[in-house]
Symmetry: C2
């Protein structure tokens, strides 16, 4: 690892000039050329730790997500990565497993490493973002909002789940269960509201509380919840899954029990990326995860670049891919794989 001094010596210029060449400051063509050549000869790469120390600012963005095993977040990560790379930032992915302690650990590290900014899907609405704010670092919340004053990018969760439920109602289902995530997670709660709204506005009354199941936002969570629902004295005739993974779990269990749709109505909020069944019997509400990542990254980079407009929140719109209950079953699947 050659240093700027060795390059300077070899090129016959001062270290400052070398630094300037690598930072786009004005340097005569002649010296620029000599520096470039010397740097190439020595395989020089600027020492980022030194640069960060000096500038009190690095070129990396932390992306903190609750579940790296969920394709929804990895798709989002792709969006963040693409936009960030275009602007010269690297993204480091931090997986909290929905644990608050890991979350604050990563936040800590982001500050200690002087990272340029952080994009976080907070495990809780009350995740303490104040250290970041106080340090004057850029931050944007994705997927879930925060009680702290930060920019945000979210989905229209209530509407998404309402749309999903509406499709089930249109198909004639009347006893529709809702399987959602932990009550502490905002998206889980908002989606329940959408479900309740839809049922209420069609049937004129609140859904049976027994039909609401909280569980984890994972495959197991969906399985467990569905299992519980099936043991009800009066089981549901349809179910709406509040996230993709729960949808997978629900469908797995139903398949095992020989209850696959259309025997029972199923709608899922979120895409089923790696499903192997023809998804035509399931209503899927596609959430633009990648776009969410891109938007968050753009917002963050604007802030890093000094934008100090008032706090903003962007709400992204979903698209509904309705189940086909009857019709030409040999047509291609409606849900594109990628």
């Amino acid at each position: 690892m050659a240093t700027i001094y060795e390059v300077a010596a070899r090129a016959g210029v001062s270290p400052a000039t070398v630094s300037r060449v690598f930072n786009g400051a004005r340097v005569s063509a002649d010296k620029t050329e000599r520096v470039r050549r010397a740097a190439a000869d020595l395989a020089f790469t600027p020492n980022r730790a030194a640069r960060t120390l000096r500038r009190r600012n690095s070129e990396v963005i932390a992306l903190i997500i609750p579940d790296i095993g969920n394709p929804y977040y990895t798709e989002m990560a792709r969006g963040v990565g693409d936009v960030a790379r275009e602007s010269g930032y690297s993204v480091v992915l931090c997986n909290t497993d929905e644990r608050g302690d890991h979350e604050s650990g990563f936040l800590q590290i982001a500050l200690a490493e002087h990272m340029a900014g952080v994009i976080i899907a907070p495990a809780s609405e009350r995740t303490d973002l104040s250290p970041v704010l106080e340090a004057g670092r850029a931050i944007v919340a994705v997927d879930r909002t925060s009680t702290f004053a930060v920019d945000g990018v979210t989905m229209a969760n209530r509407e998404a789940c309402r749309n999903a439920t509406d499709h089930l109602l249109e198909q004639g289902f009347r006893r529709i269960a809702c399987v959602t995530g932990p009550a502490a997670v905002e998206t889980a709660v908002e989606r329940v509201e959408g479900w309740r709204e839809a049922v209420r506005s069609t049937t004129g009354k609140d859904p049976d509380p027994q039909l609401l199941c909280h569980s984890t936002f994972r495959v197991d969570g969906g399985r467990d919840a569905m299992e519980r629902l099936l043991t009800l004295p009066e089981p549901p005739d349809a179910v709406v899954a509040a996230n993709n993974l729960m949808g997978v779990g629900i469908l797995q269990l139903l398949n095992e029990r020989r209850l696959a749709p259309p025997a029972i109505g199923v709608a899922v909020v979120g895409s089923l990326p790696f499903t192997t069944m023809s998804p035509r019997a399931v209503t899927v509400v596609r959430l633009p995860a990648r776009e969410m990542g891109e938007t968050a990254a753009k917002l963050l980079i604007q802030r890093i670049d000094g934008d100090d407009e008032p706090q903003r929140t962007v709400v992204l719109q979903h698209t509904v891919e309705p189940a086909i209950v009857s019709g030409d079953d040999s047509a291609p699947a409606l849900t594109p794989t990628r």
Copy 2:
């Protein structure tokens, strides 16, 4: 962000003593206590850039993978993360999208940031790892080997695919296709060999070359390949997918064409984590991805800690979860979800 000097002043000691307290060097109990208190009061966090600059070594490990959208790699990432965290390292995930240029970019960054080590699933056998080696940094290759002299952790790819194919043969299939990844990817090729071996040893002759399909290691790749295979004058009666995502694509297409197993035999090398079908009709060869990550992390940390034994390679064993062709179909699925 308080500095070590402010903490020192508040505790009435020298900066060196503060440093010692935070690095586990011997300091009197009295001063240790005063330093701890002062640090807490000031919410002091050591500046990592400074520490890294000085020590020429950071506490982060780079994990470079070709496809963050593949659950196989995210499972592996979990394994790496868990082991690393236990030893006080943070892991940053770098997604190359199977692109050599991104790959070398990340390698560059890892060096420039003086990261403690890197774990890489090389996009190609010939990915240039020499800069890392020359810098004396620890490195281990996972999933795929390297022509460079580095430690490695891989799967028994040939055997895995051979086992998968054998199960198909045992079920009586005789015209078995193999759908695999790019010919440039080692795992893709090794798995083909396993297929060929199995076919040869049972039928006594080489498989029909038309039955071998190279494509991308993704869902689309599996779909495309399967589609091609079905147009053959003499289509296969079974197919072995060389990775999980291709397996998903193949099953999707077969479902759409109403050709789902057991109408056609299917075996997959790799788990089907988010599949919604009952997987009992499909032979799955489970690859211990998480364990691979854990092993790689342990190996890497040993090297970081100065171990200079000769180069090592660990080969992990898979487990076969055979398809159930006949029998009690209402039993639980054989493939656990998590």
